[in-house]
Amino acid sequence: MADKGIYTKREDGRAFTDVRPMTAKVGIVPSADGSASFSTGKTKAIAVVRGPRTLHPQHMQNAQTGILRVSYGMMPFSCGDRIRPGPNRRSEEIGKVTEWALSSVVDLSGFPNTVVDVFVQIPQADAGTRVAGINAAALALAHAGIPMKEMVSAIGVGKIDKTLVVDLDKFEDSEFHDAEGSTDIPIVLTSRTKEIALLQLDGKISVQEFKDVIELGKVACDDILKVQMDALKNAGGKDNE
């Protein structure tokens, strides 16, 4: 490449294609039907599944299939500035795009008139909270035994100045403003067919660079899938609280 741009090194020493160290665990909330935690670097997400259960209000019920209902929220103490408790426009939108991403693989046709509630919460945020939340939520759904056509894995890929990077941290996501700035692209991919279940983007990127971003996302999602699968295999193991 002729011009490599000004972002040549990551502060935490990672290679540009490295995901931060990940942990994943299922069964963290005993009273729930399914639950999981997922962390990447300092970003931590927990997800709880309750259902299938009868859906109220009744007019929302679908006689053909159960429905998935996702809520997402950041805990008030998850960031440097206190976050006002309760839903806001950002959290409502993220809940909805998460719901769409998960609905693409979940099959609730065997549970008409029911709802499966997924609650995603972020106790500690260092960028990439929606993708960490989706990784946790997919695990919690699998842990609850909800029928799924495929697993999904989520990753934030981005462009810092001219450099493509995987799994942005807070500095890369929101504090880098020099040259071409920062572009964050959350992606969710299905595990077998590698189709895109979620995609958002804000910034500046050429069509060719965008195609490269998807390829980087595929590689990263394979790593994440492995961590998710290991967590499911360890369900009920002795290191589960």
Binding site: E93, W100, I185, L198, L201, D202
Partner: protein, 273 residues
């Protein structure tokens, strides 16, 4: 919000047409409806416009107010987008608190404008740390016949492009009117607009009608701006529960690039005059 009820026969008809590259209204799958713009629909604000794509009609207006800057950006104006999907526009819209559709609409449009740096926020600072201009873009859907995302997005852009600077009183405590000649500070070269594509049947369809929207498997909104004569992606948002295959993504990207080249000059003219 109640659901749009689509008879199965109609669904099958729309899908089988799409599979043949055709649509019920006679358009080709990649064809947009006629875009019409009316300026000055309200003289009392910085600007107000009406944009229609076929039968979908959206108003957007801009107001400026005096405000205190946010602590993390003391030398910059502030910006807020809100969208009202009014019950007058559709059977499916209810009164009351904004639902998820209007929240998503407003946030996607807000982000696109904010992140692109279209408004020169620093030039909207009056006194650092104390007083700045606050820009409001208010979107109001009057008739929903599909593709509100693109129509509302374009209406917001044109309203901003045509917005006039406010005139404040002597001690900068109140806005008393709007300038006849001076526009708000904009970075004109970062202008980008959005195009939304839906998967219907086996086809990728542009600028969908309300009926087509109801049978869509997924939608992908792509905003593109100009980078030395070539289209550059500036924002994306996928919606609905379907997944995008690599082949569909290729189709959408090349369609978006060619539609951008076709539409951009006219849209730039509409936004800046």
């Amino acid at each position: 919000m109640s659901k749009f009820v689509m008879p199965n026969l109609q669904k099958e008809k729309i899908e089988s047409y799409a599979n043949k590259g055709k649509r019920l209204d006679g358009r080709k799958v990649d064809e947009f409806r006629d875009i019409k713009v009316k300026f000055d629909v309200s003289k009392n604000s910085a600007s107000a416009v009406e944009v229609t794509y076929g039968k979908t009609k959206v108003f957007a207006g801009v107001h400026l107010a005096l405000a205190t800057p946010y602590p993390d950006s003391p030398d910059q104006g502030t910006f807020m987008t809100s969208a009202e999907l009014h019950p007058m526009a559709s059977q499916q819209f209810d009164t009351g608190r904004p639902g998820i559709n209007s929240v998503e609409l407003a946030r996607v449009i807000d982000r696109g404008i904010r992140e692109s740096g279209f408004i020169d926020m620093k030039a909207l600072c009056i006194k650092e740390g104390e007083k700045v201009y606050q820009v409001f873009v208010d979107i109001f859907a009057v008739n929903d016949d599909g593709n509100l995302m693109d129509v509302a997005g374009l209406a917001a852009l044109i309203a901003l492009g045509r917005a006039r600077m406010p005139i404040a009183n002597e001690d900068n405590s109140k806005i008393v009117g709007y300038s006849e000649t001076e526009g708000i500070p904009l970075n004109k070269d970062v202008l980008s607009f959005s195009m939304t594509f839906h998967k219907i049947g086996d086809s990728i369809v542009a600028d969908v009608s309300k009926e087509e929207e109801a049978v869509s498997k997924f939608r992908l909104t792509i905003a593109m701006g100009d980078n030395e004569g070539k289209a550059r992606i500036t924002a994306m948002q996928k919606g609905l529960a379907g997944t995008i295959s690599s082949k569909d993504m290729e189709t959408i990207l090349s369609l978006a690039e060619s539609k951008w080249a076709e539409m951009f000059p006219k849209i730039r003219e509409d936004v800046f005059g």
